[in-house]
Symmetry: C2
């Protein structure tokens, strides 16, 4: 049974859905302010410094745990449907991941839609990745992580880097990824009663905002389910069993496996969308981060 502490995430998602139902025309800035509350679910990891920086023209934040391996980096793409979320909402959750791995995290504050439609976000992410290489960080010492929309970016950033002829990172960790711009997953129906936040309708609205007018829902850099994943680094997909987006994870795992990628798909029972936000407050959050870290450490050459 899920721990009592996971109820805090459920409560937040119920609050958001109620606020959106009460105000279907909620202005974008109000929606974004609402999503800034995401971070209240996560406990402070402690012993981590936070330094804002300019990552090749893209705002970003270093989360630097004390005494970590400075030359190993987790490149983080936050979620929020490409329209909300920020380096602030995901400060603590990616700091937990970095601290548990024993490396730094660079959390990218990529431009969001509708101001920065596709391919804006993936280009911002790829620019940050190249900036890391320019700083002297070896590609084999970088792992990419991302949740929800950022879970797609955790894959598309690598595709974009490959297009640009850059060496690929050591690993990628899509968390509760949202990939499918056509919202075709069966779990939109089968998990509708369990998922407290994500519906097909919300996904369709966000896809429209992200792609902009005339955007191609099958563009591999927007929807990596249409991409050639051959040659991608090892991938750990971690997702909640109660998610309407569960099928996105399964499809990505199947595609990656069929393309010869070393892929692990972990479906965590009874968990909601991006339940890793519960790090520091619920055992499920800490345990999930621990499993990601245990998997990532050897990929980064850490003991």
């Amino acid at each position: 049974m899920a721990s009592k502490q996971t109820e805090e995430l459920n409560k937040l998602y119920r609050e958001w859905v109620a606020a959106l139902q009460a105000n279907p025309e909620m202005p974008l800035d109000e929606l974004r302010r609402m999503f800034e509350q995401w971070e209240r679910i996560t406990g402070e990891p402690g012993g981590v410094d936070y330094i804002e920086t300019d990552a090749g023209g893209v705002p970003a934040m270093w989360a630097a745990p004390k005494n970590c391996a400075q030359d190993r980096v987790l490149l983080g793409a936050h979620g929020g449907g490409y329209v909300a979320g920020s380096m602030y909402t995901h400060r603590k959750v990616y700091a937990h991941a970095a601290k548990t791995i024993g490396c730094r995290a660079l959390i990218v504050h990529y431009g969001r839609a509708p101001e920065n439609v596709h391919p804006g976000p993936v280009n911002d992410m790829a620019r940050s990745y190249k900036w890391l290489l320019d700083q002297g960080i070896r590609s084999g010492h970088i792992a990419v992580i991302g949740d929800s929309a950022g879970g797609a970016l955790a894959v598309t950033t690598i595709l974009r880097a490959r297009e640009q002829g850059l060496p690929l990172p050591a690993a990628t960790m899509p968390i509760s990824p949202w990939l499918d711009m056509e919202a075709t997953g069966e779990t939109f129906g089968t998990n509708a009663a369990k998922d407290l936040l994500v519906t097909r309708e919300v996904i369709q609205v966000m896809a429209g905002m992200f792609l902009g007018e005339g955007g191609n829902r099958q563009d591999p850099l927007a929807n990596p389910l249409y991409a050639d994943l051959k040659g991608l680094p090892p991938m750990y997909i971690q997702t909640g069993a109660d998610e309407t987006l569960l099928d996105d994870s399964r499809k990505l795992a199947d595609l990656a496996r069929n393309s010869g990628v070393d892929v692990t798909l972990e479906i965590v029972p009874e968990m909601q969308h991006v339940f890793q936000f519960l790090a520091g407050t619920a055992p499920e959050g800490d345990a999930a981060i621990r499993r990601l870290a245990d998997w990532a450490r050897p990929k980064l050459g850490l003991g």
Copy 2:
């Protein structure tokens, strides 16, 4: 009329009081976890780095706004009745103050009661102050700030520094200070219906925990209303008109004035205990921080 956004602080205080009423024997660790939510009221100031440090044996956090005056420092004492609160709960609110002033803040994670009873907290604060001097920061370039229990520390830290023969800082800013260990204020009665958080009973329990067994409620280093304030630096007291603790501010202002201290008492209409937490989310919070900063800047030799 108070802005709609101030309702978020009211909501949080009502939640806390309801949780305490539902669970009057709430264990200390649960109470502390609950108080960690204080920070959710405050918006991210942005453009501020956060670096944990050891301030002469006391854990603390630098909040360092980009391009600020590195040699000017706001020394911050967080509130929480000496038993709760932390450098994490007050990270953003003191970062707002530092950013608006244009200096760094050192937010002290002093030991809390009951593990660290009086004079533990004031000694930790004084140690951090001395550490700043040892780092080469001039006393005239330091202002002290503190809220609630930290509002007392904003005064007692200076008294302790004086006892130790240290040069005094340039200014102090007690915010919604709690000083009176005997809880004698008339506003406990007259504001009882307006204050959503603080009651005489809560204050009495916290005073007992803070002072420990046989503690002296009139010790000037615990209760500066019994102190000799002569020679103290300029003082700006900022407090909410709806607070049960309002009389604490008035008594401090009277005592300071009668002791020849340059004192400003600002009572902000319709505001609750430590409403400055609303910085970045409500105009009342930003305006209050702005007034504190405008007052403090010339004291610190900033233009």
